[in-house]
């Protein structure tokens, strides 16, 4: 159960190779979380983190989960929910490369399928389980890239915009059910996924995103930004005239 201060006892990660998700889980296990279910396409890639969390005192299960194979979502997620799950972290996504997408529409469609179609499928199935158990939080790793889409990564940005909108609507539909959705909107995060890229202002690390997420769980927020200033930065960015926005560096 989530306790009165918002610390959960069990967590399921969809896309558990995500560095941000692993950092969140590490912080949760340092608190009350004792049951960890890690789901990812390649479970062998989870071995290091699995044993780290087991050493930290958690009971860890791993599940093979392919975000693209939406037909399999029902069964995999049901396996995790054999016992209550207090927090689900939906972390799978591909970043891709806009230049590649420009010349390979099929690659762009594949990215949209993973980030958007996969998330809608998994998100709805998770919500059904949370509603049934009468409690729990779905953490959706969104991105400021979806807050206002940039030409430099507009396919990725568009998937995050869609995901973010989906998550907001899902949260509103869950009001009164005991379940909720927490949308996490990080800026540029230094991870393997972004290695070698030039960081824009307000870049951050996985631990800052994890801290913001845990703060969000504790305060029952529906949205957290990391770093928090991005909320105000983007409330300005959102209203910049298109010609100005287009010329923004990065």
């Amino acid at each position: 159960m989530n306790d009165a201060v918002g610390d959960p006892q069990s967590v399921l990660v969809l896309g558990a190779t995500s560095e941000i998700a692993q950092t969140i889980v590490r912080s949760l296990v340092a608190r009350r979380t004792r049951r960890v279910v890690l789901a990812a396409r390649r479970t062998d890639a989870l071995e290091g983190f699995r044993s780290e969390m087991a050493t930290a005192g958690a009971t860890v299960e791993t599940l093979a989960f392919d975000a693209d194979d939406t037909a399999s979502h029902d069964a995999v997620i049901a396996t995790a929910f054999a016992r209550d799950i207090d927090v689900v972290i939906m972390a799978f996504a591909v970043l891709g490369d806009q230049a590649t997408f420009d010349n390979d529409a099929a690659a762009a469609v594949a990215a949209v399928h993973t980030n958007m179609v996969g998330s809608v499928s998994a998100g709805l199935i998770v919500a059904k389980h949370l509603r049934e158990q009468g409690h729990g939080t779905l953490v959706v790793l969104s991105s400021v890239a979806g807050e206002r889409v940039r030409k430099a990564n507009f396919v990725y940005g568009a998937t995050k915009a869609g995901l973010d909108a989906f998550a907001q609507g899902l949260n509103d539909s869950l009001v009164g059910s005991g379940a909720r959705v927490l949308v996490v909107r990080p800026g540029f995060v230094h991870t393997r996924m972004t290695a070698g890229m030039k960081p824009p202002p307000f870049s951050t690390g996985p631990q800052a995103v994890a801290d913001a997420t845990i703060r969000g769980l504790r305060t029952h927020a529906h949205t957290v930004w990391s770093p928090p200033q991005l909320r105000y930065v983007f409330s300005v960015m959102r209203h910049l005239p298109r010609p100005v926005w287009r010329r923004m560096p990065g």
Partner: protein, 460 residues
């Protein structure tokens, strides 16, 4: 199921901090309790009273909750034996309104009248008279209990002490208490004769309480947890007894058993968070301490003013804002006063905004394996749930309490680390065995149980 109405809705404890949703069942009679228990799905069933447990003791996420106060009211007084038999959903408020004008008082009352007879058994509640009279369960002669298989039995201390004591303090996990017969205290007036005295610090207070507990049936101290340094633990002790008719004057003397407590006002549904902060609480506590008399004897007070000051404000829990709050209550055995002092010092230094804390000396414990009180000092405080670093602060306190041989009160808990439970309740295993015999399939479930793993079978 006939005669029942089921509504899926969001349910919280009194601290309104961790809401979960459940199917709340309105009940027509005792038969419908049995039907509902048998009808419980894979997430189990639990009786719920007026929801005054601060944490998640009366919640059952995704499962069924039996709304005990929805049962037809029933209060039967046996004046000759000074006993009352009441439905489990009857509140202590209803009991007092009925019984006080007839010259009877409840054997134990907590800080609110808005608790039910069934809830009082489940939590084995205590009041300001614990040092003299023990817990609620020690005044229960019998109760009706609907078990997991739908059967109903009459449980008495003489014939079935094991079930009696597993249910008393058993947090509703042994079955559904449907009604109970309780010994009453004959009183001549509805007033209290109160002794109020200020204590400059925690040590003075503890010495003063040891003295006064020998002479007064009721006693409790309100401690300023914001004060630090020399005045750390400054407090106001109130102790008292039921007033004899001779102590009353004027209107009160004309109608010595009059009892009509009113609710003065209700807190608005949306109250901004952060209004209770270090500064407002400090100012409040200062005024409160200064306005208390240094020492005053034989002041006549109403039952409401003496026992239930917060019942005057409806839904006062809203004052803590939408994120809710938690109440933290522990007991430290006599002899470990050093630990108590250390804890008070840490809480006072942390700036965890608590209006006032309440300190009380407990008397002997009873045979209930999960009954909270033990001989020692019990401290209770309210803290807003959103406070950063709160769980870490209380985790350290939990360990101090456990190391000193003390424990937390399950009816208030909402965040204890489950690994400390067995140390705090050394007879947990014994209770578990009895509970598993009474409910082998784990039909009775609660969020408290899911969080702490009290029973052998936790569903799902």
């Amino acid at each position: 199921m006939s005669g029942e109405r089921v509504t899926r809705r969001l349910v919280t404890g009194w601290g309104s901090a961790a809401a979960t949703s459940a199917d709340v069942v309105r009940l027509a009679d005792a038969v419908s309790v049995e039907a509902a228990v048998l009808d419980a799905g894979h997430r189990g069933v639990l009786a719920r009273g007026l929801g005054r447990s601060y944490g998640d003791a009366a919640q059952n996420a995704g499962g069924m909750l039996l709304d005990m106060p929805s049962m037809p009211p029933s209060i039967m007084l046996d004046a000759a034996h000074a006993q009352v038999t009441a439905g489990a959903g009857i509140s202590l408020d209803q009991l007092m309104r009925t019984l006080v004008p007839l010259g009877f008082f409840v054997p134990v009352t907590p800080g609110t009248r808005q608790v039910t007879v069934g809830g009082a058994i489940a939590a084995d509640i205590h009041g300001k008279n614990h040092h003299a009279d023990g817990t609620w369960g020690q005044h229960v002669c019998r109760f009706g209990l609907t078990l997991a298989d739908g059967s109903h039995r009459d449980v008495t201390l003489r014939d079935d002490p094991e079930t009696f004591w597993a249910t008393t303090g058993g947090m509703g996990l042994t079955g559904v208490v449907t009604d109970a017969t309780v010994d009453l205290v004959p009183v001549e007036t509805s007033r209290m004769l109160v002794h109020t005295e200020r204590a400059a610090n925690l040590d003075d207070l503890m010495a003063l309480m040891e003295q006064t507990d020998a002479t007064y049936r009721y006693s409790v101290a309100w401690v300023d947890l914001v004060a630090t340094g020399r005045t750390m633990g400054r407090s106001v002790l109130t102790a008292g007894d039921h007033a004899p008719p001779a102590a009353l004057t004027g209107k009160a003397a004309a109608d010595p058993l009059a009892f009509s407590p009113g609710e003065l006002l209700t807190a608005p549904p949306v109250f901004p968070s952060g209004l209770l902060n270090k500064h407002t609480v400090r100012a409040f506590n200062e005024v409160w301490f200064r306005k208390a008399p240094k020492r005053r004897l034989d002041q006549v007070q109403s039952i409401g003013a003496f026992f239930h000051p917060l019942d005057g404000v409806g839904m006062w829990s809203r004052l803590y804002g939408p994120r809710g709050f938690l109440q933290y209550q522990f007991v430290i055995p006599f002899g470990a006063e050093e630990t108590l002092r250390k804890i008070v010092e840490r809480l006072a230094g942390s700036g965890a905004a608590s209006f006032l804390a309440v300190l009380k000396r407990f008397g002997a414990s009873n045979p209930g394996p999960l009954s909270f009180p033990m001989p020692g000092w019990t401290l209770t405080l309210d803290i807003p749930a959103g406070l950063s670093g709160l769980n870490e602060l209380l985790d350290i306190t939990d360990r101090d309490v456990a190391d000193a041989g003390g424990r937390l009160y399950l009816a208030k808990d909402s965040r204890l680390d489950p690994s400390l439970l067995a140390r705090m309740y050394p007879r947990l295993e014994e209770w578990r065995e009895t509970q598993a015999r009474l409910d082998p399939t784990g039909r009775f479930q609660s969020d408290l149980n899911r969080r702490l793993g009290l029973t052998k079978k936790v569903l799902p």
